[in-house]
Every structure is written in C-alpha cells, then in structure tokens.
Amino acid sequence: MSDTSGKHGDKHWLVQPDTIRKLWIGGIALLIVVTLFDIWVHKHVHFGIEGSFGFYSWYGFATCAAMVAIAKGLGFILKREDTYYDDPD
C-alpha cells in the first residue's frame, strides 16, 4: 500500500504513491459522507443501541478489529508450518 520507494515511471499508475494518497483521501471522505447519512436517513431501529449515531460505522469497525485480534490470538495456538501435514518422505 505505502510503497514509496524510488522510480515512479515504471509503476502502474494505480500503485504510484500519488494515486495511493488520493485514494486514501477519497476513501476517508467517503467514510465521513456515509456516516453522515444518519442525519438525513430515517432508520427503523430494532434494538436500542442501533439508534446511536453512526452505529453501523463504529460497529463495523469495532467488530472487524475484534475479529482480527481474535484471529491473531487463536493463531498463536492454531498456526503450524504449512508443511505440517506433509509426509516426512
């Protein structure tokens, strides 16, 4: 993502640092806009907390972060070399 090294000329335009920086800016702007939808859109709330501002934004981010952390933690127990099941011969 953030490969900023050296010559830009031989790189595809999509992976040039300039483009990546613009993509980040555009992406963050998009995140803000979709969260602000909550102001204009009337939500049908089923569960109390769902009505909180930007619920789906923070819930999406928080649960994903939690899942990455859980996976990382379980990885310490469950991960093995990818040759683990190979025959020794």
């Binding site: 595809h12 939808f37 789906y56 994903c64 899942m67 990455v68 991960k79 990818d82 099941y85």
Partner: protein, 570 residues
C-alpha cells in the same frame, strides 16, 4: 427443444438423470461434439426442471415403500434451476482444459444434486446423496496429485460416515413413522436426530467443517468451481425442506459464520480462504433455516441461489490465477491486476457480491435473513450476524482481491485465461449485478411470497457504513494480517494426526504384547518338550533298553529279597 421436454415430463423422467446419464456418456462422445454436449445438457436439465409441475410426478415401489422419484414444488425448482445454471457455467469454464473424467464426474455430481432437489422421499434422497459423494470424490481425485489423492480419501471417509449416519437415521425414522416421505420433521426421535446430523455433515457444520478447506482447494482449478456449489447447497436445500424452524440450527449457523471468518483471516492459501468463506456463507443460510419464518426461509433459499453464483465466480477467478501462475499462496501472489484485468474485475465483483454490497446479488438475499432475525427479536443472533456481515467483507471481500491482485508486486505478468474461462466469469459477474439491481425474477421463484423491499434508503446507508468501515479496519490493521507460510489446525487434526497416532500405537502395543506372549508360550512349550524328551526320549531313563544280563541280575536281586523276607517271616 419443446418436444423432448414434453416427452421427458410426460414420462416423468427425473431431471437429474439427464446430467447423470449425459455425464456418464461424455467420455464416449466424439471430441468435437463434447463441448456442445457439455453446454446443452445443463440447458436441457434447466428446461425440464422448470417444467416439473407441483406434486408427485413419479412413483416407484421399492421394498414395499412408495418412492417419489420426482416431486415438484417451488423450492425444488429453485434449487434445480441454480444447479443447472451452475453446471452450465462450470461446463463452459472447464470444457476445453479439464480432463473428460473430471467433466464426467462433475456432471454426475451436479445431476445427483438436481436429483436430491426433486426427491420426494428419504430413500431417494439417500441414493442421490451417495452418488453425489462418489461423483465429488472423483472430481477431487481428478487433479491427479498426491495431495489431491490424500484429500479425496479423507473427503470420502467423512462423507461415507455422513452417509451411514443418514442411512441409520432414515431407517429409524421409517421404522418409527412407517413412511419414507420427505417432509418437515420435528426433532426428537433418534431417527430425526441422525438425519439432521447426516445433513449437517454435508453442510460443513461443526465439528465437521474442516473437510471443505481440506478437500476443495486440492482439486483442479476447474473441479473446485463445481465442488463449491453442490454438496453444501444440497444440504441447505434438505435442511430447509426437513428442518425449517429447528432452533438449534440458529446457533449452528452463527458458529459457522464466525468460524469461516476467523479461519479465513488466518489462512494464506487463496483457495482455502474461499473454502472457509463457503462455511461462513452457509452459516448465514443455516441460521435463516433455524429462524424458520417465511422471510428467513426466503432469505436462506435466495442466499443459496446468489451464493452459488458469486462463490463460483470467486473460485473461477482464483482458478484462472492458479491456471496462469501455478501459485495459490497469497505470499507468492500480488500485482496481477496489471495483466489479468478481466479476472481482477470479475473476482472483485464476486467479492462485492459475497459482501452483500448494495446492487449485488448478496445484498438482496442475505439482508432478508438479518431482517428476519430482528423481526423475531433475536438480539444476540442479530448482532452476531451483523458482525459476521462486516467480517465477510474483511476476510473475503477485500482480503481475497487485495492479496491476489494488488498488495506487493509479485513480478508475475500472466495474461487473462482462455476465452471460455473469461466467458464463464463474465456470465456470472453479470448475474451477480443483474440479480442485485433487478431481484424480482429471483424473488418470484422463492418458496413464499416476498414482502420485502431491499432498497430502502436506510438499509443502503447501513450496509455502506458497515462495509466501508470494515474496509477501513482492514487497511488500518493490515500490519497485523501479514501473511505467513502457515496453516491452521482444525478438527481434522483428530483424524489426520491423533487418530493415526493412537491407531499406530495401539497396533504397536498389541503387537508387542502378542509377541511377548508368543515368545513366552513358545519357550514354555519347548521346555516342556525338552523335559519329556529328557525322561521319555530315546535316551531317557524311562525309555532306555536294558541289557539281558543286568535284567537277570535285577531278577536275582529281587528273588533274593523275597527269599530274605520269607526267612524273616519264618
């Protein structure tokens, strides 16, 4: 085409047999006609399937039971339709490169899935179920690598075990109720429990989830496209038909949805990532089946339909990458968007669809399950499904395209694959978007009337927020997700390592014990023989021949002794 369809229907020919018989005849078909056959057979199956009317069409007596070989209803037509479409697209993707054995096995496999969809009794279900297990094992096997052979044997072992459980359940159920009819069952008796377990093993439910990520990725680039579609979705079909509203399925489904995400996050192999995400997606469906309301069942059925398409599309794009580069691991891939743009775009459309992005097929199907859980006030389930929805984008929606087509530049510059593979991908990418933008044809095929409007403004906003922030989490936490050359232990450890270890040691210990016993007994017997031989053998004192002279001396001594005794008495 209308004449053979009317003819086939009037003779109540099971639609699945078109693919099964056609598949078996495929190796005998002339080479230049084979492509036409591969594309025509699924189309014919689709037309016949759609023409099957409601109700039982074909009875057959077997051991005193009424077998209902063909029973039509909306649900069976829906599944037969998607199975036929899948066989068509898979055939298009595979017919120029796959071995004929593989195509043949894949068609038998697809045909038996259609057979299950129209089965009106449990015995017919069981027969097609087992044909499906054999067909799919051959598809895995057809990759002809050592890994594929091992995986296919483990796959077969799990499915034969599942088949035995199902058979036992069917026998017990038929004994208890006196009928082999396949209708909605109430969980309670031994028979129904065993049938449910047999079905769930094929769905990839815990603890038997590992076979999917073990076997499917070892098949050929073409084989996995077929494998991803039929076994698990046939299980979804039979669960809807037999166990809708069974509460335990809600929690089994939630577990599967989470399991798939966690294991996919840990995985390095792109095809195994996609295999884990099958479990994740089937989890949503199983959960919907457990909720059991009309909306939830519509959601589960339509999600199975949409899932087959976008999952096959993802696996086609991964297969194209494997075919063109020979690589499967994320650590070896990257930067392929430059020279495989079509594969990249189609794979990304599949990734958006699996993530339920608005205007894709996943959005119009999965949301019905989530909404149904809210309508039933299942708070825990709703929050879990919502988290899992965000997690889908994390583990498949972004992770797959990012690590395969973007991330670092692997330096590889392979072109897009052959025209037929591209055509199949374009077809399914089109379907993903078409179903998302215009879901009405799909909704009209669902088992219950659809009173659901997916494109409410609030719903679009919620989904965009959830998914885009999941995407943000991905890029922010990217350093934590650095790919490693690892696999993750799963339940299959018990039958791949622990089982063989125990078996080996038990055999060894029993062998040692036997040997020790044998040696001990042999020694004792030899000693006894030697003892007997010592005393009774040819040279032993008891068997020795004595000299006449010594005999005479002993007789004289004896007589002398008698004489002395007589004197003593007198």
């Amino acid at each position: 085409m209308t004449i053979p369809i009317e003819w086939l229907i009037s003779y109540a020919f099971p639609p699945g047999l078109i693919l099964i018989v056609g598949g078996l005849l495929l190796p005998l078909t002339p080479l230049n006609f084979r492509g036409v056959a591969v594309l025509a057979l699924p189309i014919l199956t689709l037309q016949v399937s759609l023409a099957v009317p409601d109700g039982v069409l074909l009875y057959h007596q077997f051991l005193g039971y009424d077998l209902q070989l063909v029973e039509g209803n909306k649900l069976s037509r829906l599944f037969a339709t998607i199975f036929s479409i899948m066989a068509f697209a898979g055939g298009l993707y595979a017919f120029r490169h796959a071995r004929v054995l593989e195509l043949s096995a894949a068609f038998v496999y697809a045909g038996s899935a259609v057979g299950v969809a129209f089965a009106g009794d449990l015995i017919t279900v069981f027969v097609f179920w087992e044909v499906m297990a054999i067909g799919s094992t051959l598809v895995v096997w057809a990759a002809r690598t050592k890994q594929a052979y091992g995986a296919s044997m483990r796959y077969l072992a799990v499915h034969l075990f599942g088949g035995v459980v199902l058979m036992a359940g069917v026998v017990a159920h038929v004994q208890a109720t006196g009928s082999a009819d396949f209708t909605l069952m109430k969980l309670g008796s031994v028979g129904t429990w065993l049938i449910l377990i047999g079905f769930l093993i094929n769905a990839g439910a815990p603890p038997f989830s590992a076979w999917i990520a073990d076997a499917y990725p070892e098949s050929s680039p073409f084989g996995m496209v077929f494998l991803s579609a039929f076994t698990t979705k046939t299980a979804v079909f039979v669960l809807i038909k037999g166990f809708a509203g069974t509460e335990i399925l809600i929690y089994v489904g939630v577990y599967m949805a989470c399991y798939g995400i966690i294991y996919a996050l840990l995985e390095n192999d792109m095809r195994r990532i996609l295999a884990y995400s099958i479990v994740n997606q089937v989890g949503f469906m199983v959960c919907g089946i457990g909720i059991g309301t009309e909306m939830a069942l519509n959601g589960a059925a339509s999600h199975a339909f949409a899932h087959i398409i976008y999952k096959a599309l993802l696996i086609m794009s991964a297969g194209a990458v494997l075919q063109q580069t020979g690589k499967r691991k994320c650590t070896d891939l990257g930067g392929l968007f430059q020279t495989m743009p079509l594969t990249c775009i189609c794979g990304t459309i599949g990734a958006l669809a699996i993530s339920s992005f608005p205007w894709t097929s996943g959005f119009v199907s999965k949301s019905m399950i989530n909404t149904a859980s809210a309508a039933e006030h299942l708070t825990f389930v709703w929050f879990m499904l919502l988290a899992a929805s965000a997690g889908v984008f994390l583990h498949a929606g972004i992770k797959f395209p990012w690590f395969v087509f973007f991330q670092k530049d692997s330096g590889m510059r392979p072109p897009d694959p052959a025209w037929n593979m591209k055509a199949a991908m374009i077809f399914f990418a089109f379907m993903c978007v078409a179903l998302g933008v215009y879901p009405d044809p799909l909704y009209s095929m669902l088992p219950y009337e659809v009173n659901y409007e997916p494109y409410a403004a609030a719903h679009i906003a919620e989904m965009l927020q959830l998914l885009l922030f999941s995407g943000l989490a991905f890029f922010v936490l990217l350093p934590m997700m650095k790919r490693t050359l690892t696999i993750s232990l799963d339940f299959d450890w018990f039958y791949r390592v622990a089982g063989p270890f125990i078996a080996r040691n038990v055999v060894e210990a029993v062998g040692k014990l036997g040997k020790a016993l044998e040696q001990g007994i042999t020694r004792e017997v030899i000693n006894a023989i030697a003892f007997i031989r010592q005393h009774h053998g040819p040279t032993g004192p008891m068997a020795r021949t004595l000299y006449l002279s010594s005999m005479v001396i002993w007789v004289v001594v004896a007589l002398g002794f008698v004489l002395v005794l007589n004197f003593a008495r007198a």
